[in-house]
């Protein structure tokens, strides 16, 4: 039985565990029918031209992991940003772990999607925001159909959250192959400010497939910073679907650090629904082996006087493949738009591949839009210069790569996250440089 059939036939079992007489379930059912019709994406679809899911869809995933495993903090501490105080929403095999989490209802809501979907208190927010901007495409529909658990974050107006929020999904590998479908909702009201760190981590080498959907709503004058740390082990694959809707004067930035995993696909969509909005999309990808990372971004400029900044850097070694597919749409009303898109790549090996497709679709005339895409090597002269001065080749190369990635790093606002990323890059480049940038 292929995965689609398996998923379709397990929907009835899923319905046993949820309230099927709610409005939410109507949304689920509709999404389920949509997935049933569309199935998994194939390479024939333009959006999936360079990424094939076939190899990971063959696994016999358990869709509702029922074996529970408790894990101790000591085992997983290293996956947290643990040197600062943070709120934490932790899931183990898709189930909430109250032991590892630190949630709150004190003015702000940092809690669970399952309670938000069922409790009356949240009804209005859920009605207004749930599944409002998520696309009706194959994998998002699949997630919506099975949406039940995930992180729910609601920051009321004029509130600055004093510490970052971490969302971590662990896969224990108790089952031979696990499929998870977390569903997150983040709502920042007027003039609210929040920083969020998101991570998916598999703890064994058993196969894992995560199909996550995150919806972010940023109201006027709010700021949302989201850091996605993707350094999973090689048997884990991730399809990340993030949808952001911004109102006037809001600033939303999403940083994606892709260092691990088997196949990683990041669908990042921004919809600008007001004026003077700034959208920031940045990413660093450093992969090797047979890893595959696909960044698929969309920025939809609908109203005038907005900006968007995209900056994606990639370093690809061995047989790895990188894909960058960035699309900027500027509607005819969106005059005075400034949209910038940059994608720089370094190939370290002749077996590695980069496929880039930076697209612009522009319907307004008074705009400044540009995209740049380069593929090249490290500067031989700069390398030589450093070697002359006694810096070994490996370190010199690493230094250059740090410099290459630094335009993305410098906009990370949480110092501990930045430090963690620096360390991860050092591990990835297999060097130990005792310096701080």
């Amino acid at each position: 039985m292929d995965l689609k059939e398996k998923i379709v036939s397990s929907y009835v079992a899923f319905e046993d565990g949820v309230n099927i007489n709610s409005d939410i379930h109507e949304i689920r059912t509709e999404a389920f029918q949509n997935f049933e019709k569309l199935g998994f994406p194939s390479k024939k679809l333009e959006a999936w031209k360079y990424t094939s899911l076939n190899s990971i869809l063959k696994e016999d995933y358990s869709i509702f992991p029922d074996k529970e495993k408790s894990i101790t903090l000591a085992e997983v501490k290293k996956y947290f940003i643990h040197d600062i105080d943070t709120y934490k929403i932790v899931f183990i095999d898709g189930k909430y772990s109250s032991f590892l989490s630190e949630t709150t209802h004190d003015n702000i809501d940092v809690c669970l999607m399952s309670s938000a979907l069922s409790k009356k208190k949240y009804k209005l927010v859920i009605e207004n925001y749930f599944n409002k901007i998520a696309k009706q495409d194959n994998l998002t529909s699949l997630n919506t159909a099975f949406s039940k658990e995930g992180a729910y974050i609601h920051i009321p107006k004029n509130t600055e959250v004093e510490k970052p929020i971490q969302i971590i999904n662990f896969t224990t590998g108790e089952e031979s192959a696990t499929m998870l479908q977390p569903r997150n909702l983040i709502v920042a009201d007027k003039n609210a400010h929040v920083q969020i760190i998101e991570r998916h981590q598999s703890l064994t080498s058993n196969a894992a497939l995560t199909n996550v959907v995150t919806e972010i709503f940023a109201d006027r004058h709010s700021t949302v910073d989201l850091y996605k740390i993707q350094n999973d082990n090689i048997a884990a694959s991730l399809v990340d679907n993030t949808f952001v809707e911004q109102q006037s004067n809001s600033v939303v930035s999403v940083h994606t650090f892709s260092f691990g995993g088997n196949i990683t696909r990041n669908n990042l969509n921004f919809f600008q629904k007001g004026e003077h909005i700034d959208s920031i999309l940045k990413g660093i990808t450093i992969i090797e082996g047979k890893q595959h990372v696909d960044h698929h971004t969309l920025v939809h400029h609908i109203e005038p006087n907005c900006e968007s900044h995209q900056d994606y850097k990639g370093i690809y070694d061995e047989r790895s493949t990188g894909v960058f597919n960035g699309k900027v749409i500027v509607e005819k009303e969106a005059q005075k738009t400034n949209a910038y898109q940059k994608n720089n790549n370094i190939l370290m090996n002749n077996k590695s591949t980069i496929n880039a497709k930076p697209q612009l679709e522009i319907f307004a005339d008074d705009v400044k839009c540009s995209h740049g895409c380069t593929i090249g090597q490290l500067d031989e002269q700069a390398l030589f210069y450093m070697q002359q001065r006694g810096i070994p080749k490996k370190e010199a190369k690493a230094l250059l790569m740090y410099a290459f990635a630094n335009t993305v790093l410098e906009s990370v606002k949480v110092p501990e996250v930045k430090e963690r990323i620096m360390k991860l890059i050092a591990t990835k480049l297999k060097v130990n440089i005792g310096f701080n940038i």
Binding site: E46, K332, E333, Q335, N345, L347, M348, N349, N350, K351, S352, T353, I354, N355, A356, K357, P358, Q359, L360, E361, I362, F363, A364, D365, D366, V367, K368, C369, S370, H371, G372, C373, T374, I375, G376, Q377
Partner: protein, 482 residues
């Protein structure tokens, strides 16, 4: 550069709608509408083609009938009804023409209106013209001069008779009949086109030029061009197009194949001005063209195009850089106005070592038109030290039009250097103000700025074409101010 003054332009803008929208009443021999195996056979028979050619066409037809019309391009249109087109139309003429006097006077008048008077061409311009009216070449000039150098330049139908070995060897090697829907269609039913062969080490002494026209109402034009430049040779080839006004959409599905052998260079320039439809978007030509060149070692192919016409343009002149050190270039200006839609660009396939390619694409959209750049740069894993530079600039006039960029970059070699830049902007208020201050009115100022914007590409055109192209740009943007 041009003697053409601004006053001329104004006069022209006021008086003309589509300058070349006239219809010459020449008694044409046209096949009944529709396409099947018999029609393909009949075309082949009509052309008195050898058996292998008929087979080749039939094979292409078989492939075509199994294919589906592509839909991926960023254009919307009513699909042509392929069974409603007459696939062969030739002016009824005496079989052989030795001098220009024998040409039908009506035809000559047509050329006169097109501004390519044969006499004048013969006397003044150093251009050999292979004129094609509704698919059949009527006169080939300068054949003698070229003949002395061993250069073959003739209609492809004649080449099939006279040089079957050359045609058979090269036809379909760069664009195989199975390549795409329109290439297959063209392979099955092409009526005529040009064939050009430059022998080893010969530098073609003059620009070779073909003027195409669609004449007979309701007939499609299926041109086939094959240019072969043998080792160390050079040729510059010009192609220009105009078509009469028509209400129904006309289909143009041409195939151009270029083969540049070791150390050879081919420069291929196009000015395309098919009827774009009227200001309501009615009528106009569908231009679905497959153009591709193959570069052997040290060879160079350079495509230059100025696209101002057609209701729909769907065209990607490409280079396969097969040999080491080969070079591909693509310079393009695409102007769309009113309801025109253009989806154009290039493919640079780097296979050999040290291959280089340059892409400069300028898109100008006005009115309610849509202008897309779609390009592919592919560096294979064996293409060491490949280098590509791409630049796509778009200029928008008004907020009813759209400019789109769809570049595909696929790199499999670490020593590759690929750069892609794209910008979109409008004509700056300050630029216009500067011109106005100096007494240049807005319409002329725009023409001036557009010319500056397109200069990088216009400079690559041969002189005569550059003048014509400049003129075309101005006419195409008529009334787009404001």
């Amino acid at each position: 550069m041009s003697k053409y003054t601004e006053d001329d332009l104004r006069e022209e803008l006021e008086t003309k709608e589509y300058e070349y929208g006239f219809y010459t009443d020449i008694e044409s021999e046209t096949f009944a509408k529709g396409l099947n195996e018999d029609v393909v056979r009949a075309i082949s028979k009509k052309k008195n083609e050898p058996e292998w050619m008929t087979e080749w066409r039939l094979k292409a037809f078989e492939v075509w009938s199994k294919m589906e019309e592509p839909e991926w391009a960023n254009v919307t249109y009513k699909k042509p009804e392929f069974q409603e087109i007459a696939y062969y139309s030739a002016p009824k003429q005496k079989p052989k023409l030795n001098s220009i006097d024998e040409v039908d006077p009506d035809l000559l008048a047509t050329f006169e209106k097109l501004g390519i008077s044969l006499e004048e061409q013969k006397r003044l311009a150093n251009v050999a013209v292979d004129i094609v009216v509704d698919s059949v070449s009527v006169a080939t000039t300068f054949k003698k001069t070229l003949g002395e150098k061993g250069i073959i330049f003739m209609p492809i139908s004649e080449a099939i008779q006279e040089h079957p070995e050359l045609v058979r060897k090269h036809l379909g090697t760069v664009v195989p009949p199975s390549d795409n829907f329109y290439a297959a269609l063209n392979s099955a039913v092409f009526s005529d086109g040009s064939f050009c062969y430059i022998p080893k080490g010969v530098k073609c002494p003059m620009e070779l030029s073909t003027y195409f026209r669609i004449n007979e109402g309701g007939t499609g034009q299926f041109e086939r061009t094959l240019v072969v430049a043998d080792e160390g040779s050079f040729v510059s080839y010009l192609e220009g197009c105009t078509a009469p006004s028509r209400d129904e959409n006309q289909l143009h599905a041409a195939v151009v194949e270029l083969i540049a052998m070791d150390d050879a260079e081919i420069k291929y320039s196009t000015v395309q001005n098919w009827f774009p439809g009227n200001s309501e978007g009615k009528g106009g030509v569908y231009n679905f063209v497959t153009k591709r060149g193959l570069c052997e070692t040290n060879a160079k192919i350079s495509w230059t195009q100025v696209e101002t016409g057609s209701a729909i343009t769907w065209k990607y002149p490409s280079c396969i850089l097969k040999g080491n050190n080969s070079v591909g270039e693509f310079y393009s200006i695409a102007v769309t106005n009113n309801f025109q839609q253009a989806d154009t660009g290039t493919k640079m396939i780097h296979l050999g070592k040290n291959t280089k390619s340059t892409i400069i694409s300028k898109g100008i959209s006005a009115g309610k038109s849509q202008n897309s750049y779609r390009g592919l740069v592919q560096i294979s894993s064996r293409a060491e030290n490949a280098r590509n530079f791409s630049q796509c600039d778009s200029l928008l006039m008004g907020n009813k039009c759209g400019a789109h960029t769809f570049p595909y970059i696929e790199v499999k070699n670490k020593s590759a250097q690929v750069e892609h830049e794209a910008t979109t902007s409008k004509i700056g208020e300050d630029q216009l103000f500067y011109c106005n201050q100096r007494g240049i009115d807005t319409e002329k100022a725009i023409a001036l700025i557009v010319n500056g914007f397109s200069k990088e590409v216009l400079n690559k055109l041969p002189m005569e074409f550059a003048v014509e192209a400049q003129k075309l740009l101005e006419i195409s943007l008529e009334g787009s101010v404001g």
